[in-house]
Symmetry: C2
DNA sequence: AAGCATTGCATAGCATACTATGCAATAATA
DNA sequence: TATTATTGCATAGTATGCTATGCAATGCTT
């Protein structure tokens, strides 16, 4: 049934639903990792660093598609909170290399567990095939937006 | 091919991809509506108000699933920028009713056009059937997260 | 009616994200 | 080698979003 002058149905707008979904994911993840002293913003950087630390800020910016000042700010908070140390590169005076503290290393299992739990909870209403479809569709949308300007 | 100790593959994590996708959507929408003097944060409120103004802050908070202090802050910016006026309800001294200015009304066509353009661009790589699937899957995930915890 | 609970909104404080800009170190070029 | 361009990072300023909290107006209970 059509309503007369409705020009924009937000619940049928991809952008609106994507934003809402992202905020809901963030709220749930926040609740899961707050007991660990972590916030959602540090999570992507930690994922990279758990895999391999000693990388540069630039490496994180490129891999995570986060703007450089955002990453600088996030790393400052992580340093303040004792999750990383920054040491200047020996051969290039511009570069800061990022190293995890033992404290940050010790959080990996619990933190990724919390993230896995949120993902599982969020996708619980979808069949395994639909979950794969959902991920695939999202990755294609991301690729489209990444390469369009 | 499996890599030895990788415990968390972010590009296969729903939460990570959702967050990235939402930031990309926001960047594109921001670029589209900035020439109108709008930001992404005011957009959901404007969508509601274009449909019907004279509603309360509480109405917006409930419909948009945005926390009340966030909405109060957003409405303050909108008032500062001449998009809305707030008038106290005549029968209930607690309530502020929100009214659009002519300036805000005049932006509806261009702003929703920009949002439609972003949505179209984002979904351009999907078939019409896949677009419907994508929206349906997202709405189901939103519903799941809405009703859990 | 008095006292308590609820509701609607504002404020404080912070995290996360952006653009614009500056600066120092290095690289490239003339 | 001197100049210019590029690169890596930091800072400033702002928007968007959250939790915690306070307060005034209203509603409820006795």
């Amino acid at each position: 049934m059509l309503i007369c002058c409705m020009t924009f149905d937000r619940k049928n707008s991809a952008g609106y639903v994507v934003n809402l979904m992202a905020r809901l994911f963030a709220r749930h993840l926040e609740a899961g990792i707050r007991p660990l002293g972590l916030g959602t913003g540090v999570f992507p950087a930690l994922l990279m660093l758990w895999e391999k630390d000693g990388v540069t800020q630039r490496d994180l910016v490129d891999a995570l598609e986060i703007e450089q000042p955002t990453m600088a700010n996030t790393l400052s908070r992580m340093e303040r909170d004792g999750l990383i140390t920054r040491r200047r590169d020996e051969t290039d005076g511009r570069v800061q290399r990022i190293w995890l503290t033992d404290k940050a290393r010790a959080l990996e299992t619990k933190a990724t567990g919390a993230a896995n739990a949120v993902n599982a909870k969020a996708l619980a209403g979808l069949s395994p095939g639909q979950q794969k479809q959902f991920m695939d569709l999202m990755r294609r949308v991301v690729a489209t937006l990444d390469h369009s300007r």
